[in-house]
Amino acid sequence: MNCGDLLDRMPVVAAGRGNWSADEAAHLAGCAECQEDWALIQKARTLGQAGEHIDTGKIESQLMARLATARRADRIRRGGWLAGLAAAAAVTLMLWRGSAAPTAGPAPAAIAPVAETFSIPVAELETLDGGQMEAVLENLEGPLSAGETPDVPSFGDLDNEQLQSVLGSMEG
């Protein structure tokens, strides 16, 4: 038994979780240094005694209420986050469907045979005189599809996915 060992045991005995052995008690009785240590440990424990008078019932009820509020706030935050995610997913889907639209139909209207889409405003024809009308008719004699096609999109404007979609639709 030495002073260091006894000091290590002091908090245990001071807390009432153990008793001095006969050896320890004898050492303490005859060692002024250890008596001073023992007095200090006991004094340090009394410092905390005021902290024992806290109202644990009040702490418990207030704590549980705070935890419940915090959990509710967490749920709301999580809900808001999920709603945001769902909205973002919906927008993404809409954009994706928008960009994929040319592939959805049987064939893009833009590359349909020109004859299906070509038209000449009749009102304009009505203003032409006979000679002019003949000239127009002469221009119409060639196959329409061989001429210029109106509003054909430039494939350079399409991205790879859109081009692939167009190619896919053309295979049919």
Binding site: L7, A44, L47, G48, T56, I59, L67, A70
Partner: protein
């Protein structure tokens, strides 16, 4: 006839596990078990008895909010003490180093002998002052050991040191406090 076995109270680890699984009543048991030692620890650390209640609640609130971070390497109590110690440090910093409580506000032992009361009061004052002047690790080891009765192995796990170092810190703290109280 066999005596009825004593009901075994669930361990802290079991209660924490139950709380994590959604059993709120486990929290009330943990509060009942640890609130008073936590109050003792806080008051020893220099917190006024009036403020101790709020800080006990705050420490427990923080603990339950991050209960998933408790790994059971250290005891639940010493983990709580560490959280409480950080709260005290924050409060101390907020007050720019001023002690949180005057020794006058403490509940001192009631002695019939005025001279003895004065001596006791003086000694407590010097001890409380001395605790605030200890290096943080020494103070925490001392308070964990004296108020919590925590073993060196557990203190080491809680404070991230070795059991041998924790023992040295405790012995140093006692030596320095004795010099301050003399």
């Amino acid at each position: 006839m066999n005596p009825r076995p004593e009901p075994v109270s669930p361990s802290d680890a079991a209660l924490v596990e139950a709380y994590r699984a959604g059993d709120q009543s486990a929290a009330t048991l943990l509060v009942a078990r640890h609130a008073t030692p936590l109050g003792r620890f806080l008051v020893s650390s220099g917190v006024g008895p009036d403020e101790a209640e709020d800080l006990v609640q705050e420490a427990l609130f923080r603990a339950f909010r991050r209960i998933d971070t408790w790994r059971a390497e250290a005891s639940f109590r010493s983990w709580l003490f560490t959280i409480a110690g950080n709260l005290v440090k924050d409060e101390y910093r907020k007050r720019r180093g001023r002690m949180m409580v005057s020794i006058e506000d403490r509940d001192l032992a009631d002695h019939n002998d005025p001279a003895a009361t004065l001596d006791a009061k003086d000694a407590e004052e010097r001890l409380a002052e001395g605790l605030t002047r200890l290096p943080r690790l020494q103070r925490e080891v001392f308070l964990l050991r004296v108020n919590g009765g925590v073993e060196y192995e557990e203190i080491a796990a809680t404070l991230g040191t070795t059991p041998g170092a924790a023992r040295v810190h405790f012995h140093h703290a006692v030596k320095r406090l004795k010099e301050l109280v003399r």
